[in-house]
Symmetry: C2
Subunit: 399 residues, 2 copies
């Protein structure tokens, strides 16, 4: 068995498990750090191992554009290229191909209103009026991404060059990269899309899932043990999510991803999970794509999520926001220059065991690279410890 | 004995030795990495130890301005603040106080013509006409730095605020920082200065050396075992260098620094060492301030230099220039994207043992922090290995 559940909660859908891959095991529930361009920003592989991370997720769209999946294959595949011998996830490339330009234009994330800048491109505000949405359609169809039944034509955010992704192309790129767990090519709709569009898009995503599975099975021999996960879409609409979970869940995927849009609030996101997860095969792993702030973790684990990936801990770290049990600490604030304590008073990360808030605060004020590095290390270790704690709570029947 | 020489070359002034400090020993000849703002840019202390560095040098001027020596003292001193338990050098602050604005204005380093951008602020060209020099005098005296017998008034490069350094102030700051080896407050003249100014400045530096020694002896009890090195000045003029070496060498310093200007070519620099070093006490350590590119090392060691500090390996590394035995490799070049080899084919650094040229090249092209980090690690390890090789050559009587 590729996924083994060792304990199920009696209070919720939470469970402890192990995902076994050709590059080692992942204890679940797990947080998967994001290494978009084949590097967790600022962190060496040695540091990542020291943090305790068991797996990471790279972005297919970015690696396809630069340095290219073909080059990475030539260099021996992603594991060898970036020198990470543990499990790797790659996403399908769909989210960025569809939304990078779109989301930059409209400053939205996967959840429209309350998580500005959480996922997708750096953004700080959301706009929800229908004028924006029309404008959106204009950009999506005519300027940045052109969707047909066959796939999506999009422009590179790097140089504006034109590219075309199809389900088959996504499988080919992900085969070249050679990750252990890959995702079916999907359209990640925006919270700004209406019911009609979301339904149409979901149905296309379903047809693409069939094509992905076929393409992947045809390639199976190329990357030993590579697992293709299907993705459930359907926006924040109950009947669509149910339809998608049933359709995708009935297919021969060894695991599943829950894709965005996840609505306009955390409550919406929890509802999406409540609708989708019970309709998916219980004993297969479920990944929540692009979500994973500390306050979400327990709520999503209780609803049956096994793995999370999110840029939040690394992005916050680079910007000087250190994760603590009670929110974040803005280490750039002048008040910490005089603080001899470590960032987290009981934290066991390299940063907290070796440096004071005063020092890290100085590094940020002096624009030193080591500031973002040390805060990233802290935040990733915080997530590791949180997941360990969550697994412990499930073990003890507390979650 | 604070400095013990274990072997002297019969062919040159080269020698192997050990400098013992309250924070451990330094095998000499040694390269001392620069951590200007209490951090070797992009590198953790764990990585620096892994590289094999035994000591580092921080800049008094920068730390005085930000976060301030007073704050660092409050945090337990520089060793504790930056979590480096090995030997630390601090410079006097003089070089930057006098020259930061000046050198930025005139784009010169310590050696005027051939080492653009090597030391001091980032610069790319040198200007040597006398019009520039007059202009210089204007800026030095009226705008950026005002020199009197008592000290120098200068403006912060950060916010333009006015500050005043005296020999006593430099000793006080360096006492607050608490490094193991500190330097007397000196004026580092520019290669653009004429004989008359250089002589006048050197004589003032001598009087300041007397004041530093007095101030430091009065403070001796404050930082246990802190060693004050005197600095030889005199520009590229033979009689001035000889006079300075005799004057400073006769004082009760446990070691010496050779300060710039070092002339207009490498040949000038070697001459400066030929003139100065034989007139300094043989059995005391000699540090060459701000110099240490690979091609200089052996020539300077042969002339009696024991320790070097230089930003070159770290600065080049951040800019994608990797040190090799035969010059530098520009890892940003597209040709290396297809190169499976490590940067240095026989290099034992963390970078070369774990990553290909292809990967590091990709990181630079993708503007990833890890590119500068990995190349910095390589360059510092290159310097460590070079110094080990130099010590070996002295041992075998080859240098």
């Amino acid at each position: 068995m590729f996924f083994k559940i060792s304990k199920k909660s009696k209070k919720s859908r939470a469970r402890i498990g192990v995902i076994k891959t050709p590059h080692g095991a992942i204890q679940t529930p797990a947080f998967v750090p994001v290494g978009t361009q084949a590097t967790v920003k600022g962190i060496t592989i040695a540091q990542l191992k020291d943090i305790g991370a068991e797996s990471l997720l790279c972005n297919t769209y970015h690696l396809y554009l630069r340095p290219s999946d073909v080059l990475i294959k030539k260099m021996g595949g992603l594991h060898k290229f970036m020198n990470w011998d543990g499990p790797i996830f790659t996403d399908s490339g769909g989210f960025q191909a569809f939304s990078l330009g779109y989301a930059i234009e409209h400053k939205v994330g996967k959840i429209a209103s309350i998580f500005p800048g959480r996922v997708g491109p750096d953004s700080s505000k959301s706009k929800k009026d229908s004028g924006e949405q029309e404008h959106t359609a204009h950009y999506r169809d005519d300027k940045l991404a052109k969707i047909t039944e066959n796939g999506v034509e999009f422009r590179s955010h790097l140089d504006g060059s034109k590219h075309f992704f199809t389900p088959e192309k996504s499988m080919e790129i992900q085969r070249n990269l050679g990750a252990d767990i890959i995702f079916a090519f999907d359209e990640c709709t925006s919270p700004l899309h209406d019911y009609v569009y979301t339904k149409k898009s979901m149905e296309r995503t379903h047809r693409w899932a069939v094509r992905c599975l076929e393409a992947h099975e045809g390639q199976q021999s190329n990357v030993k043990g590579q697992m293709l996960f299907g993705i459930v879409q359907g926006g924040a609409y109950k009947d669509l999510r149910e339809a998608s979970a049933k359709f995708i869940g009935a297919m021969d995927f060894p695991g599943f991803g829950i894709g965005g849009s996840l609505g306009k609030s955390k409550q919406d996101m929890y509802k999406v999970l409540n609708w989708s997860i019970p309709l998916l095969p219980e004993n297969k792993p479920k990944h929540l794509l692009g979500i994973g702030s500390p306050e979400d973790i327990r709520e999503c684990v209780k609803r049956g999520i096994d793995t999370f990936d999110c840029v939040m801990p690394t992005r916050l770290g680079r910007n000087g926001a250190a994760l603590l049990n009670k929110g974040t600490l803005n280490i750039k604030s002048g008040r910490y220059l005089n603080d001899k304590n470590p960032i987290g008073k009981r934290c066991d990360c390299y940063t907290c065991e070796n440096y004071s808030r005063s020092y890290v605060s100085h590094l940020f004020k002096a624009n030193e690279m080591l500031g973002p590095i040390l805060t990233t290390i802290h935040n990733l270790r915080f997530m590791e410890n949180l997941m360990r704690q969550v697994r412990e709570e499930i073990k003890k029947g507390q979650l």
